[in-house]
Symmetry: C2
């Protein structure tokens, strides 16, 4: 019995050519050989991708839905990316718009280990939207960055993540930086009463899979519960391996290198969730990046909508946000979201603590407004 | 002393805005925070990327060259990709056009272990262009695919690679498929005289870094000397780790997911070489993909030009080539290239052996013509 997963592609094509384009796509994303070369009927029946539908979406724009044989993918995230779009990413007139798979297949990939509820439990915040900021700038000393971590934790920021530029620099290597920041945050947490959130630290993983494992073990040993990793830079197979090996860690997915011809709603919204991101950071509209509002909404929907029994990922709009926009962002994404504001806190310089507290209280107030 | 690497970006912008865009890019690809937030003079001096030049390239198109601090990268290929283009890949009006680094920095990354000369030694071909084909279609049984491997080796094809769609399928898992194909090819090689090339087999690696290591060790144990991997799918850091751990294996880089806003000349031409690809497969113009001729020429130049003391990678034009185009391809790329023809051999069906021999003899003849 052939099991399928489904992928929808947007293709720029004339009406005359779209049938052949769709068929060529089905071959490109499965057997990479013309049907005329096939000598085994099983392969045509069970392996070749099938064109399920072709529908017009506009002038010279078509949506083509393919059924891809699950036997070509298994439960390997890297192979899924390959079969969905590996070769076709080299074409310029095509976008992977959406994916769909069975609950059984999704269960094999696994999805978030913690999801929104797990992150909420870690920071001890039941209902309001969450706050996040970033430890910046890279190049700071361990003393500088751990002081900043303490300040953010004292101000009540829920998740204090590192920029993805932190790595194994000689000046502040992971094994020195991370324990110092974690100690600073844990010390601040000890002074909080039970109505306050518990700040959590998410260091940035870098290097190959082995180096990331060493980093994660080092982080876990000193009490860290979250980590930042970029699936498109490290490879989705490796991201999923971290997910499987470290189910106790909340994985925040960073969007570095996610600017592909895969629609962000499919990539950041669904695929990152499928591979196990507990939170998904994405560039919100109106910031330093160009994702339009509807694309951001599609990411958040992909993260949170009921889907194949997977836990929801926490949508985390970011990329040039400011405290002034908090109410607007929460009115758009609601409470099951995390607001990530980095640089625009830091420009307050010696008013950083006050600015951070203003961020925290704005999110609390705006969350209340969303209830009402 | 600040050490730099250099990156050139093409940006669509008005003349009025380009100065600010260039400065914003320098911040995005280094500290991710406005300069106004900096309190440490060392970071501005040693860490922040610097705008080295801005030059017009056309109407509302500018080339911006940045100096990125090497201390933010080290020798980690993943981190290099991050710092070159991680965040900016999320913008739509920018392309990473070129990179440049010092010989000392390039030496730390390492480049190809074998390069063109090493591949030539393995296949025992001193001067002519090389031939390559692909084992297709995925979904074939081990018996089918190993028979095909024997046929190609008998026909004298130099490098018999697998499609990147081969993975750990239940029907033909790596540990069964690869020894069978290698035995078939080795048996064919034993019948060859010293003037014939020795066919080499390049199985496709899949999964995470650990799975790839297991696959490579399995392959090495049965005599395989080459392997196929896709740096953009598996992550460049992992690709480089394979390079470092398996210097005896010729790594063929597959272009899956290389359709980014990084110019192919920079990504496939230079970065894949920097990270250790002994051969670089790319979609040639006039085939199933849309890379124009000058882009393909830039890839081949990046692979082969003297550069920072790194061995040259073998340019491998592919993606819908045919035997009829052999002379044209060799007249364009010369002898230090490998021609990869897959599907258009297979459509010969029961004439596959004859068609494969025609490919081999065409390449030999066309190589002679290039000498003359």
């Amino acid at each position: 019995m052939r099991e399928n997963l489904h992928a929808t592609y947007l293709i720029r094509s004339s009406a005359d050519a779209i049938g052949a384009r769709a068929q060529a796509l089905a071959l490109e994303q499965s057997i990479e050989v013309p049907l005329a070369a096939l000598t085994d009927a099983r392969i045509e029946r069970d392996v070749v991708a099938q064109v399920e539908s072709i529908s017009a979406r506009g002038s010279d724009l078509y949506a083509v839905r393919l059924a891809l044989a699950l036997e070509t993918v298994g439960d390997d995230a890297g192979q899924l990316m390959n079969m969905l779009f590996g070769n076709s990413s080299l074409l310029t007139d095509i976008q992977l718009e959406d994916i769909d798979l069975s609950t059984a297949a999704a269960t094999r990939f696994g999805g978030p280990a913690l999801g929104i509820a797990g992150i909420r439990a870690r920071v001890r915040v039941a209902e309001r939207a969450l706050t996040s900021t970033a430890l910046k700038p890279i190049g700071s000393s361990v003393a500088q960055v751990s002081r900043m971590a303490a300040l953010f934790a004292d101000a009540g920021i829920d998740v204090i993540k590192e920029d993805h530029g932190w790595a194994e620099s000689a000046r502040s290597p992971f094994r020195v930086r991370v324990p110092a920041c974690q100690r600073a945050i844990a010390a601040a947490n000890r002074g909080k009463d039970e109505h306050e959130s518990l700040s959590q630290y998410a260091p940035s993983l870098s290097g190959d899979l082995d180096q990331m494992r060493v980093q994660l073990r080092c982080a876990l040993e000193c009490g860290v519960t979250m980590a930042l990793a970029a699936p498109m830079t490290m490879g989705c197979a490796g991201f999923q391996t971290l997910r499987r090996e470290f189910p106790q860690v909340a994985l925040l997915a960073h969007p570095a290198f996610a600017g592909t011809q895969i629609a962000p709603g499919a990539l950041l919204g669904k695929l990152f969730r499928l591979f196990g991101a507990d939170a998904v950071i994405f560039p919100n509209h109106g910031g330093r990046f160009a994702f339009p509002r509807d694309v951001c909404a599609a990411i958040a929907a992909g993260n949170r909508a009921p889907w194949l029994g997977l836990k929801p990922s926490l949508p985390t709009p970011a990329g040039g946000m400011s405290v002034e926009r908090v109410a607007e962002i929460i009115s758009e994404y609601g409470r099951d979201a995390m607001l990530l504001i980095g640089g625009s806190l830091l420009i307050a310089r010696d008013q950083l603590a006050a600015r951070s507290r203003a961020f925290v209280s704005s999110v609390a107030q705006a969350s209340d407004a969303v209830t009402a």
